[in-house]
Every structure is written in structure tokens, then in C-alpha cells.
């Protein structure tokens, strides 16, 4: 076990923002923290990073209390931050220095990641005619997306063992989203530990094996994503036919979860019920274009869990 978060609690006066949260990351890979806005994701990450004092609990890294100043941690904050008026290279070197990265190593890494993230032209602008040196751009001269890339460079500059990404893909265009994803894959391939918070469920499903869903500071669902899905069973049935099958659906007592002009999204009680439904359609020679039985998506699980918890309140 490498990261262990035990019974974390945080409150501001009477307001509890984190209530006895625990989770563990056993192996390298991406761990996801999910939740609605204000659920406590950023607070959890800030406590892990030592920015915020906790009221209770502990954060262990390789069995010892995690000290972010001594542990090699990288962080991409939810709200992006760069000094607007300072040169990009100066501030990247500053962040590297604070992480005790030697200057020449820092320069090599900045060059590598700037190249990977296609921001070399801003960090190391080409020399202009008549000038011996070129001046690195300032942050306020960059677009939001490019600033985000430079911040990812800052997060990766120390080659961190533990990388914490708070909403890393928010606000990115599809091209840059793919670029960020490729870098996350690269870090996974290097056996790094990543914690990621995101609202983008497909991204979480793409990268994460283990998740915690938070609602109002409490964990409402935790565990391995595949196991969670298996636990729900394959209860989502998508049927597409050339003819109207409404009468079959009602005769089988199936619930319609959604409907498009040509496709039904049905909820079945078991796989057997779905098979019986399929047999009936075939026997009656109903032309079937699509018949797909699958587990619920993370999005559906999230809505169910967070919705349930909010209804209980």
C-alpha cells in the first residue's frame, strides 16, 4: 500500500466539509475522486497536499505521514495559477527550485514537457533578428489552454512519484484533451501514482480502476470500478427495431429508462429476463437492429448515488 487516507475530517465552525473519509491506493495507477461541486474533492486534495489543516485523521505515504515538502508530489490545481507578469521560464525554474530540482535537470525537463505539450514557442520563443537572446513569454500573453499546459509542465517538473490532478481536463479543447490524456497514460506507464478529480465520467472510466464518490463531504461509494459495476449487474438493455415494440415491453413489465425515435433504453431485473425478452422477439419474428445488455455506466451510478444521498437529506 502506498497512499492511505484514514478518517479525514475537516470542518469550518459548524460546517462539516469532510466527514471521516478513508481510502487507499495500493498500486500505481489513477485513483478517482468524484463528486458534485462542493462535495469535498478539492478539500481532500488540499489536505493530502498539506495545504489545509485537518481536524482529524491521517494521510500516510508508504506507511509514513505524508509530508508534501519532503515527498515528491506534483499538483495541477483546479483553478489554474501562474504569475501573469513574470516570464514563463522564470516561474517554471522557480517551481523547480522549490522542489529542489537542479537547474540543468529542470531545464531539460522543461524542454521535454514544453515540447510534448506544444508550448515550446512560448517558453523558449525563437530568436528574433538582431537579438542575441529571446525572452520567454509572460503568462498573460497565453491563451487559457496554453496556460493550463504550462501548469502541467510545472506539476511534472519534479518527475513526481505522486501526481494530483484536480479537474485536469476542464476547459480544454478536444485536441488538447487528447494531449493531456496521452500524458496521463505516459505517467501511468511509468508506474506513477495519480489521484484525479473530475466531472468527466468517460475520462474516469478510461483511466481509473478505483474510485470514491463523495457527496457533501461523505464517501457514498468506494471501491474498484469494475467490481462496483459488476455488483450492479447487466441491467441496462438497449433495443433498436424497425417496428414498434412498445406492446412487448409492457407485456414483459420492463421499465423504460429512455427512448429515442428508434431505440429503447430499458431496465431489466436480471440477465435471464433480458434473454426471455429477446427469445420472444425472435420467435415473433420482430426485426431487431440492436440488442445490447450492459452494466450501468459510471455516470448512471454517480447520478444514482449522489441523487439518492441528496434525496435522503
Amino acid at each position: 500500500m502506498s497512499l492511505s487516507v484514514n478518517n479525514l475530517s475537516k470542518s469550518y465552525g459548524d460546517k462539516v466539509v469532510l466527514d471521516n473519509l478513508s481510502f487507499e491506493i495500493h498500486e500505481p495507477g489513477v485513483y478517482a475522486l468524484l463528486g458534485t461541486n462542493g462535495a469535498g474533492k478539492t478539500t481532500t486534495l488540499r489536505i493530502i497536499l498539506g495545504m489545509l489543516a485537518k481536524n482529524n485523521g491521517e494521510v500516510l505515504w508508504k506507511g509514513k505521514s505524508l509530508d508534501p515538502i519532503r515527498t515528491n508530489v506534483g499538483y495541477l490545481a483546479e483553478e489554474r495559477g501562474l504569475y501573469p507578469k513574470y516570464s514563463l521560464l522564470d516561474q517554471l525554474l522557480y517551481f523547480a527550485k522549490l522542489r529542489n530540482v537542479p537547474k540543468h535537470t529542470a531545464m531539460d525537463r522543461i524542454k521535454y514537457w514544453a515540447d510534448r505539450l506544444a508550448v515550446t514557442e512560448y517558453v523558449f520563443p525563437p530568436k528574433t533578428k538582431g537579438r542575441k537572446t529571446s525572452k520567454s513569454n509572460r503568462a498573460d500573453q497565453l491563451s487559457k489552454g496554453n496556460q493550463q499546459k504550462v501548469q502541467l509542465v510545472a506539476a511534472l517538473i519534479s518527475d513526481p512519484e505522486l501526481l494530483i490532478l484536480d479537474e485536469p481536463l476542464s476547459g480544454l479543447d478536444p485536441v488538447n484533451t487528447d494531449l493531456f490524456k496521452s500524458i496521463i497514460r505516459e505517467e501511468i506507464s511509468k508506474d506513477k501514482y495519480l489521484i484525479m478529480s473530475s466531472h468527466q465520467m468517460p475520462t474516469i472510466e478510461e483511466f481509473c480502476s478505483d474510485i470514491t464518490i463523495l457527496n457533501r463531504g461523505k464517501a457514498v461509494l468506494q471501491g474498484n470500478l469494475n467490481e462496483i459495476k459488476k455488483g450492479y449487474g447487466r441491467v441496462n438493455l438497449f433495443v433498436k427495431s424497425d417496428v414498434d415494440i412498445a406492446s412487448y415491453i409492457s407485456s414483459f413489465g420492463l421499465t423504460i429508462a429512455g427512448k429515442t425515435p428508434s431505440e429503447y433504453h430499458l431496465k431489466v431485473k436480471s440477465e435471464e429476463q433480458a434473454m426471455e425478452f429477446l427469445t420472444k422477439l425472435i420467435n415473433d419474428q420482430i426485426p431487431i437492429v440492436k440488442f445490447e445488455l450492459r452494466e450501468p455506466s459510471l455516470h448512471e451510478i454517480f447520478i444514482e448515488k449522489v441523487g439518492d444521498a441528496n434525496e435522503e437529506k
Binding site: 497536499l49 515538502i69 495559477g81 504569475y83 522564470d90 522549490l98
Partner: protein, 442 residues
């Protein structure tokens, strides 16, 4: 305060200092300050000595025709003017008609007519010069002043009064009050009041410290708000503790301000030197004209060091307060509101200092002045000036430094408690009441 809380402050210090020195705002203000300092002495010289620029240069007046209708006759005018720049002037008793002579003066242009008259109340010296020519009003003024000074002595001598009698007549009359103790012994009271020149000197130092203080403190506050509003602080906080961030910033800004101020002082001295060299007839330096007479007796290493320590401690105190103010707001637009407490505290210190320096002129050192010397809010403003004019004793300065240190430590322990919470605060400006509440709950 744990030592680990300060780890990384040196990196923050070096980055902040380099970026501050490189910033356009700093460079522009630096150039303006240095330029102003360099031109200040010639400018002051021009303003205060306008018309007297050639005061030591030979007077263009060559000849003076004298009409003397007073009882003081047979005056040897050539002996009356010992000044080097005037001893070439020839005095001639006028024998022609005034109108004829005045026409001649118009032609000669370097001659003037002097008419001396007398009535029951006064002697009058009246000059007539050519409307055009090298003789200006200032030259006539200088000649008139020199003659009037000597004429006074001449008048006294003519009355048969000896030099001793004259000295007696001119002796100042002073009054003093002594008090006796219970045994009837007279308690001797030293006159501790200061001259106006000393007052203006203290005032100048106070203003200089205030300027340096405001400059560095507002820069610190604005730098902290910028890091908060741009969220850079979240990156920094995973590698350095909030207190190390603040300490690094404060020291960097103090260095930058000190660099600016020391450069300014050097530029002032350079300007002073240049003025005395390049401006003709300005043998004494401008600073000597304006500084108190005995000031250079008190300027020694120990006093300079004490002044430096006091100013630095004061700046650290106020900078910490400004840092706290910066952390209470989330946006740069709210900074003025956040700086209210800092501004009020600063003004209290400055006004107590000003009040004490005024009191020093009128009443000398009294309990209020001692309070101002020791009170940590006012001591950085008033005490450096008082040390340099020799009005603050070493034990008093020592106590003031200790009190300032205690104040800083108390403020730091308060700030250390709440700064971590404040630095990530995002919302309305936090008021003093809430700060105190926060310090109790954290």
C-alpha cells in the same frame, strides 16, 4: 513558530527579489527617484539662492558716486567693504548735479549713485543704477547689505560707544526657572529642546522612513493578493509553508526598498557634491546649509547601525501587518479595503512621531516624547532622527529596540496562527473582529 515552517524562504526571497528588481514598475520608479535625487540639490540651490548665484563672484559695479547729506562725514567707503568680490569698487564723492551724474551713470553702466540721507528715525541708502547693463538688482542688493552692515558699526563708533559697550548693548536676555527639591537643593534641568533645523531634520527622516515603509509594505500586500487571486499560491503551498512565503517576500521587498533608498541617499550626496563643484560661488554644500550644525558629530557607525536596526525592525513590523492585510482579501481591487488597519496603524505611528518632534522644539524631552521614542508604532519614525541629533540616549534606544522586537514576535505568532487559513481564503474581505475570532479557533 517551528523552524520547518520557514523552510524554503530563501528560494522565495531570491525569486521575489530578482523579479521585483526586473519589473518595469520598479525600474521606472527607481529611475524617477534617482533622477529626482540627482537634480534635487541644483534645483534647491536654484530656488533658495535664486539671484545669489554669483554671490562670491566679483561685483560688476566699478564705481560708486556718493551723495552724503548725513552727520556722518569723512567716511572712507573703500575700507568699509572687506569682501573680496567688492573691494575693487571705487567710491567717489559726487561733485556734479544729480541729473548730470545720473545721465553719466546711464552711459557708463558699471557705475551707480549712492545717496545717503538721515532723519530722526533712520539712515537711508538710496542707489541709482543704469536701466540696462551688467549691474543687476541682486548686485545692488549685495552692495547695499554690505554697506548697511558696516554703516551700523560706523554709526555706533561715531556715537562714541566702545566695542565693549556695544557688546553689552547687544547682549541677549535669557530667562530660566529652577526648581528646588525637598532639601532645598536646586535641581538642575538640562535644556533638551531642539532648534528648527533639527526639527526639520527629524521631520525629513520621518518622512523618508514613512516613504520606504509605505513603498515596501504595499508591494508586499499586493504581491500576496496577486498570488492569491491568480491561484499561484496553491502551487507554492505544496513546497513551502505560508509563513516561509511571507518571510521570504518581506525580506525581499525590504532589500528592494533598501536598495532604492540607499541609492537615493547616494544620489543626494552625489548631487550635493556636483552642486558645490559646478555652481560658481557655491563653496559650501547645500546639505550643510540645511542640516543642523552639529549633525555630523553624531553620525558615527554605532548611531548609523542603531538607526538602521530601528528602521528595519519598523519596516518588518509594518510589512508583516501589510502581509496580513494582503491575505485577508481575495482580489487586488479589494486591497485598499484590506489595508485599512495597516494604514491606521501607520498613521498613528507617524502622528505620534510628528507630535513628539513638535514637542521637542517647544518643551524638549518630556514623558510624551519618551513614550514616542519607546512606543513600537512610532519609534521607527522618530527615534532615528533623534539619535542623529543626539537627543536619544543609548539605553533608551536599547529599550526601544527590545520593545519593537517583542511587538514583532507577538504579531508574528498571531499571524502564524491564522495565515495558513487566510492564504486559501476566497471571498469577502476578513475584518479585524473575524481575524481575532479566527486566531482563537485555529
Amino acid at each position: 513558530m517551528k523552524k520547518s515552517n520557514l523552510a524554503g524562504w530563501k528560494d522565495v526571497f531570491s525569486f521575489t527579489l530578482v523579479q521585483t528588481l526586473k519589473s518595469k514598475a520598479f525600474l521606472i520608479s527607481y529611475i524617477i527617484l534617482i533622477t529626482l535625487s540627482l537634480i534635487s540639490m541644483p534645483l534647491v540651490n536654484k530656488i533658495f539662492n535664486s539671484g545669489n548665484e554669483d554671490v562670491n563672484a566679483p561685483s560688476p559695479i566699478k564705481k560708486v558716486y556718493v551723495y552724503n547729506s548725513t552727520s556722518l562725514q569723512d567716511i572712507d567707503f573703500s575700507k568699509l567693504l572687506p569682501e573680496e568680490n567688492m573691494n575693487h569698487i571705487l567710491f567717489e564723492t559726487a561733485s556734479e548735479e544729480y541729473d548730470t551724474l545720473s545721465k553719466e551713470v546711464e552711459k557708463e553702466t558699471t557705475s551707480v549713485i549712492l545717496t545717503i540721507t538721515e532723519d530722526s528715525n533712520m539712515f537711508s541708502l538710496h542707489f541709482l543704477k543704469a536701466g540696462k547693463g551688467p549691474v543687476k538688482d541682486t548686485h545692488i542688493q549685495a552692495l547695499g547689505n554690505a554697506l548697511a552692515k558696516q554703516f551700523q558699526l560706523l554709526r555706533i563708533n561715531a556715537s562714541g560707544i566702545t566695542d565693549e559697550q556695544n557688546a553689552m548693548l547687544n547682549a541677549k536676555i535669557g530667562t530660566s526657572v529652577s526648581a528646588a527639591d525637598v532639601n532645598g537643593e536646586i535641581i538642575l534641568k538640562e535644556d533638551t529642546s531642539i532648534s528648527m533645523a533639527e526639527y526639520w531634520f527629524i521631520y525629513g527622516i520621518l518622512f523618508f522612513v514613512l516613504m520606504a515603509n509605505m513603498l515596501s509594505s504595499t508591494q508586499i500586500a499586493s504581491s500576496i493578493v496577486t498570488e492569491k487571486s491568480t491561484r499561484v499560491v496553491e502551487y507554492l503551498l505544496i513546497t513551502v509553508k505560508p509563513l516561509a512565503l511571507m518571510v521570504g517576500k518581506i525580506i525581499a521587498m525590504l532589500f528592494a526598498t533598501l536598495f532604492q533608498m540607499v541609492s537615493m541617499v547616494i544620489a543626494l550626496f552625489v548631487s550635493n557634491r556636483i552642486t558645490s563643484v559646478i555652481i560658481p560661488g557655491n563653496s559650501s554644500s547645500m546639505l550643510e546649509q540645511f542640516l543642523p550644525k552639529d549633525i555630523f558629530q553624531n553620525i558615527n557607525i554605532v548611531n548609523i547601525l542603531l538607526c538602521f536596526i530601528l528602521v528595519m525592525l519598523g519596516m518588518i513590523f509594518y510589512a508583516t501587518l501589510a502581509g496580513l492585510a494582503g491575505a485577508t482579501v481575495s482580489r487586488i481591487e479589494e486591497l485598499n479595503e484590506g489595508l485599512t488597519l495597516f494604514t491606521i496603524t501607520n498613521l498613528i505611528g507617524v502622528y505620534i512621531g510628528l507630535g513628539a518632534s513638535g514637542t521637542l522644539v517647544g518643551a524638549g524631552i518630556n514623558p510624551f516624547v519618551v513614550f514616542a521614542f519607546l512606543f513600537p508604532l512610532s519609534s521607527p519614525f522618530i527615534l532615528p532622527g533623534a539619535i542623529l541629533i543626539g537627543k536619544a540616549t543609548l539605553p533608551l534606544v536599547g529599550i526601544a529596540i527590545v520593545l519593537e522586537l517583542v511587538f514583532i514576535l507577538l504579531l508574528f505568532s498571531f499571524v502564524a496562527k491564522i495565515y495558513e487559513t487566510l492564504i486559501l481564503h476566497n471571498g469577502n474581505t476578513i475584518k479585524l473582529k473575524e481575524l481575532i475570532h479566527l486566531s482563537k479557533t485555529v
